[in-house]
């Protein structure tokens, strides 16, 4: 992977440089972190109330923790989990900024690491803390479902 990608990611997310992470895909604007957390990579899931974007029906079209929580509940996840790796469970983590507005979603992998699509950039495999103390803020909620 090009050195420029790592330099850019570490500038955006300073915590990455002191943690273990790997770039796993080329940059693409075709899908975002919500799609990736929902295990899709061919469309952009967007709560913005502007026509043209995909968003599941009957989930409020707003960038709020409540809306994203409802979305992942629809996908079988339940709130109140922690970041540990649990046998038989799949987990997602929702990041939020200082105002509580969601900024990002990551999905836990079978090895306990987390996978994230970074905006229109690359997919990375990382620790949850690697994306904190940045525009993504902190982890606001972790949800889990049976695998």
């Amino acid at each position: 992977m090009a050195i420029n990608s790592k330099t850019r990611l570490e500038a955006l997310f300073p915590q990455l440089s002191s943690s273990s992470y790997q770039i796993k895909s080329p940059a693409t604007p075709q899908y975002n972190c919500i799609a990736w957390a929902a295990e899709e990579d061919d469309r952009w899931w967007e709560p913005v109330p502007v026509p043209g974007y995909y968003w599941p029906r009957r989930i409020p079209r707003e960038v709020t923790l409540a809306s994203l929580t409802m979305l992942f509940q629809r996908l079988g996840y339940r709130p109140g989990a922690d970041e540990t790796l649990e046998a038989g469970c799949e987990k997602i983590a929702i990041y939020a900024d200082f105002s509580g507005a969601p900024t990002h979603v990551a999905r836990q992998l079978a090895n306990g690491k987390w996978t994230s699509k970074i905006g229109t950039l690359e997919d990375i495999e990382h620790d949850l803390e690697g994306l904190t103390l940045s525009d993504y803020g902190t982890v606001a909620q972790i949800m889990k479902r049976s695998a």
Binding site: P29, N32, V48, P51, G52, Y53, T103, L121, D135, Y136
Partner: protein
């Protein structure tokens, strides 16, 4: 401005957040005269210009089955541009 926006908003997870970038807002602020330039940019390299196009035109040319599919969204807007004399 387009390049500034591409660089500085690339890590944002939602178009809602990308579109709030000052460069993106300045592009919308240029008014309908910028529509041909956006369509040309969309043709050159598909990106999330759809908020701007909707804000400038009030149109929604993307079929339901293609919602969220960037290349199809771009194609729908380029077709709309041709039909409205922009290319």
């Amino acid at each position: 401005m387009a390049q500034t926006w591409r660089t500085e908003a690339a890590h944002r997870s939602f178009v809602t957040q990308m579109a709030m970038h000052p460069a993106y807002q300045r592009i919308i602020g240029l008014g309908p005269e910028v529509i041909p330039l956006i369509l040309k940019e969309l043709e050159r390299e598909p990106a999330h210009w759809f908020w701007a196009l909707y804000a400038l035109t009030g149109e929604d040319p993307v079929p339901s089955k293609d919602r969220g599919k960037l290349d199809k969204m771009a194609q729908a807007w380029l077709k709309w541009g041709q039909e409205h004399g922009y290319q």
